[in-house]
């Protein structure tokens, strides 16, 4: 039973149903691994061991009485951006170092009801702002494949813990690439669903029009299991879509014959390292073997994505983070002299540099006299980018690109160069701007560091993404590799 963590969710559910092992065995085995490896990796901020073991016992009772829930006993980790009732929720920030929510996010509630067992809350860049997990108040997270390297961000803790076998899967969020970039850097399958597919209620807001919850898993199949129970309408979120959620498992085995995949010529013109280009070519060939056909597509405005994103996301964040003022909850500075002092010192002491940088950019972009030149223009350009995709999807079913410009980089390497850090998301941001679902999947290695490729689909076509990755994973084994810790 020492290697339960290596089992897929399907195999875990079978083992639990067959009583090969119990929920308590399974959950306990994860806590043993966490104890052994997480002091180095730092992927968790909070562990909820007592609660988890209690739940595992109840799960076993349900299995014994054949009343088990659909994903009963499968251990999961939640990104610390999802509010969990009575459990500390920090969002990676000193500002929420003491914040214990009186409510749970819809995602956590739904997964709870499906029988998943929360192991703990995972580390992340502060308020999901970062691409290396280095902006966390709770310290950086190490990439399990090479501890000198970052796991990516902002869902770095979620990615590292799944990659290291410290959770079966993990919830995550993606505003500009925060699921897909760490998935690529840690050799995982990570899906960002269509904007509105997953409720944002109780998911601490960074940039409301871009934020979307999703999942990081070892395989496309595992991701499909989780996404099935995360998705769906929520009356508490006005932007959540009122559409039926298909069973994503049902289409996994569909053939890819005749699937049209586009490669944007704008992405090809980037100067990528030759090993990334080579891997792209190899991945393309594997997909062709499965029956997919490749075409070049034109996304004429896609190169505006990064500047658009770095106006709109900070603008929204500047308002979303105004509530952290030391008045009602969270951090409050010591002995404020007056109201201004309370605001200034609470926010000065409570926020880290990257968060402050983005609040400043956003406040500036929304200011009188600059609004039209920045925010309004960015909104118009966002529509152009979305329209480019709309046109492209008249010709192809999927769009293909690398997830990141390179493999994982070394800790500290880009910390003093925000612009270099922002380029990490050059391939992932467009899908957020257009509200499209996108998936990153492991496609190879360079210097023993994983490489990830990305597929983007039309709105609400997550099935096609999961199906394509699953088919790819049936003829490759990159997703089955484990790092030696």
């Amino acid at each position: 039973m020492s290697e339960l963590y290596k089992l897929s969710i399907k195999e875990k559910l079978k083992g639990l149903t067959d009583k090969t092992f119990s929920s308590l065995d399974l959950t306990s085995s994860y806590f043993e691994r966490i104890k052994e490896f997480d002091s180095t990796l730092n992927s968790y901020i909070t562990l909820t061991k007592d609660l988890a073991l209690e739940k595992a016992k109840k799960s076993d009772q349900r299995y014994n009485s054949n009343e088990n829930l659909p994903l009963d006993g499968v251990p999961i980790a939640h990104k610390d951006i999802f509010c969990t009732k009575d459990t500390l929720t920090t969002c990676g920030s000193k500002m929420l170092n003491n914040f214990v929510p009186p409510y749970s996010s819809t995602v956590v509630e739904k997964l709870d009801q499906a029988g998943l067992i929360m192991l703990g809350k995972t580390n992340m860049d502060e308020f999901a702002m970062g691409s290396s997990n280095e902006t966390s108040f709770y310290g950086g997270v190490k990439n399990p494949w090479n501890k000198e390297c970052v796991p990516g961000g902002s869902s770095g803790g979620s990615a590292a813990c799944v990659a290291a076998g410290l959770a079966s899967s993990a919830t995550a969020t993606d505003t500009g690439g925060s699921i897909r970039q760490p998935a690529a850097l840690c050799g995982l399958t990570g899906i960002k669903p269509t904007y509105g597919r997953v409720s944002r209620y109780g998911m601490i807001a960074f940039a409301s029009s871009l934020d979307q919850g999703g999942v990081l898993s070892k395989s496309s199949e595992d991701a499909a299991y989780i996404l099935n129970y995360m998705s769906g309408k929520d009356s508490k979120d006005s932007t959540c879509l009122d559409v039926e959620v298909p069973n994503f498992l049902n289409s996994l085995e569909d053939k890819l014959d005749g699937t049209k995949i586009g490669i944007p010529k704008q992405f090809l013109s980037r100067n990528l390292p030759n090993y990334i280009e080579k891997n792209m070519e190899e991945t393309k060939r594997e997909l062709e073997k499965l029956g997919a056909e490749f075409y070049e597509v034109d996304l004429p405005n896609v190169e505006l994505s990064l500047p658009i994103y770095y106006i709109l996301a900070p603008a929204e964040c500047s308002a979303n983070l105004s509530r952290y003022d030391g008045v009602k909850f969270g951090y409050r500075c010591e002995n404020p002299l007056n109201l201004d002092d309370l605001y200034l010192r609470t926010r000065e002491e409570g926020f880290g540099d990257e968060v402050k940088r983005r609040i400043l950019i956003g406040t500036y972009a929304l200011s009188a006299g600059f609004y039209d030149a920045y925010y309004l223009k960015a909104q118009k350009c966002r529509k152009l980018v979305a329209n480019d995709f709309k046109e492209a999807f008249k010709k192809v079913d999927l769009i293909f690109s690398p997830t990141t410009p390179d493999v994982a980089f070394r800790s500290g390497e880009k910390l003093d160069d925000p612009l270099e850090m922002y380029l990490q998301d050059i391939f992932t941001i467009p899908a957020n701007l257009a509200g499209l679902p996108a998936i990153s999947f492991p496609s190879g290695f360079h210097n023993e560091l994983p490489i990830g490729m990305q597929l983007i689909s039309n709105k609400l076509d997550e099935s096609k993404l999961l199906n394509s990755c699953h088919q790819f994973q049936k003829i490759t084994d990159f997703h089955k590799k484990w790092p030696s810790l």
């Binding site: 929510p101 807001a205 006005s238 932007t239 603008a315 105004s322 509530r323 008045v327 929304l366």
Partner: protein
């Protein structure tokens, strides 16, 4: 402190005024959450996670509020924007939990309407309504009782407000009050707000500037904030007009200030200068999609529209044959109008009922400073009293005595008339006896009357009524007396 300025100087100037009226909509729950909106609860007992701006919570629009705003729009002949959008207005204050207020900037729900006002008998005037938009109210900061600290009560946070912005069409404090009263009556008629200024469910900001008569240019305006009664709005505007004219006459300039009115001192004083004003950094609220208002929805609302003031007034004049002035008074307050209609239904006496509602009843209400809903005489009892006048059981004069007892002792009129023996004397032989007695007691006046001093007829009627303690039927007294005197 009053400012005195020569009337001649005042006459050279004209004031330009626009009002921003905040009306609290009387929904059961808040604009974006399910928490109750009841007034006067213990601090922070009616604020849920959404009102508190907790991390991760999201607003969901209360559909009832949309209906109310559309009702208002229809009643002022305005356009209903489709879609209508919400925006965030950013500023820091302890009673604003999210650090931004969800409001409307572009595409407010109501745009481009107007209302008619009339000023002391003059002809009507049209005041334009630029827009009316929805927004959430803030909480309250409590500065007393916290030993140098400030308390925050978030019960009010998230309460729906309709902010009604007028065009700068208003030219005097009197017009401003007339407009304010008109809006008050509209929201009361629509039953979308109780319009209670003392409790803050209707609040008024006034933008005031002055210019030389005949000038087309607008002067620099100041904004008087949060005045909480009709009377104070009038006084504050008048004070501010004089203050501005006084300053300009002295060669000084008006600065674009926000001003507070101190009702105790009857003066306005600058609160903050616009130079240091907040930049609210409005942008579209990403948590709420643009709200689509279908024509079918508007049609539904149209069906639910109540009879409005103007329609009711015309009907009162037509059906009840009331004078325009009486109709105006009776329809000004919807609940008085419906009380009046209820009285008529029983009494079938429009003119008499109107006199009683506008006269005696209103006087008693005013004296105790209470609303008609708190009246100590219900419409049924008043109608019965009027019936007793019209069927000659009592005279109008006695009825006033009866009314006083009804008001103070909570008894019905028939019981009072019975117990106090106030029934009118209509037995002609009884009246004849009274007349004989009075004629006998006043021989001198009788002979003068017979000699042609007609004025003394009234004297005898008065004496006879007095002798009957007011209970004799005056018409009968007249008739029998005439017969006796063979006039």
């Amino acid at each position: 402190m009053a400012i005195s300025i020569d009337k001649k100087i005042l006459n050279d100037w004209e004031s330009v005024i626009g009002l921003e009226i905040h009306v609290q909509l009387n929904t059961n729950s808040k604009l974006f959450s399910g928490a109750s909106t009841r007034f006067g609860a213990e601090p922070n007992t009616q604020a849920c996670n959404i009102d508190l701006g907790m991390p991760g919570v999201l607003p969901v629009l209360n559909q009832e509020v949309l209906k109310m705003a559309v009702k208002f729009g229809l009643s002022v002949d305005a356009r209903i924007n489709n879609p209508t959008n919400f925006s965030r207005k950013n500023y820091f204050y302890p009673d604003l939990p999210k650090g931004y207020q969800i409001s409307q900037l572009d595409n407010p729900i109501v745009e481009g309407g107007c209302v008619n006002i009339s000023i002391s008998g003059e002809k009507k005037k049209v005041i334009g309504i630029t827009r009316a938009h929805l927004e959430e109210d803030a909480g309250k900061s409590l500065h007393e009782d916290y030993e140098g600290m400030t308390g925050v009560d978030l019960n009010r946070a998230g309460t729906p407000l309709l902010e009604i912005v007028s065009e700068p069409d208003i030219r005097s404090a009197e017009e401003a009050i007339s407009y304010l009263k008109k809006i008050h009556s509209i929201v009361r008629y629509l039953e979308i707000s109780d319009g209670n200024m003392a409790e803050g469910s209707m609040r008024c900001d006034a933008n005031v500037s002055v210019r030389k008569k005949g000038s087309k240019e607008l002067g620099t305006r100041t904004e008087i904030k949060n005045v909480n009664s009709f009377r104070f709005v009038e006084k504050a505007i008048n004070y501010e007009i004089k203050r501005q004219i006084g300053l300009i006459s002295k060669g000084e300039e008006i600065t674009q200030d926000t001003i507070l009115y101190d009702s105790a001192k009857d003066e306005t004083k600058p609160m903050r200068s616009k130079e240091f004003a907040n930049d609210y950094r409005y942008f579209p609220e990403p948590d709420l999609l643009p709200v689509v208002i279908k024509n079918s929805f508007i049609d539904e609302v149209k069906k639910e529209m109540p009879e409005m003031l103007e329609e009711k007034k015309s009907r009162f004049i037509k059906d009840f044959n009331l004078k325009e002035y009486d109709a105006d008074v009776l329809v000004a307050d919807k609940s008085i109008a419906s009380y009046f209609e209820n009285v008529i239904k029983i009494s079938k006496e429009p003119k008499l009922s109107a006199n009683w509602v506008m006269g005696e009843l209103s006087a008693y209400l005013n004296k105790e400073n209470i609303d008609i809903s708190q009246s100590k005489v219900n419409y049924k009892d008043l109608a019965t009293l009027i019936l007793r006048i019209s069927d000659n059981t009592i005279s109008g004069k006695i009825a006033k005595e009866v009314f006083e007892i009804m008001w103070s002792k909570d008894q019905d009129p028939d019981t009072i008339i019975e117990e106090k023996g106030l029934k009118q004397v209509t037995d002609s032989s009884e009246i004849e006896l009274l007349i004989d007695k009075v004629l006998e007691e006043n021989p001198e006046q009788l002979s003068q009357l017979k000699e042609g001093k007609d004025k003394l007829f009234g004297f005898f009627v008065g004496q006879i009524m007095k002798a009957s303690q007011g209970k004799a039927n005056p018409a009968q007294v007249n008739e029998i007396l005439k017969n006796k005197l063979k006039i």
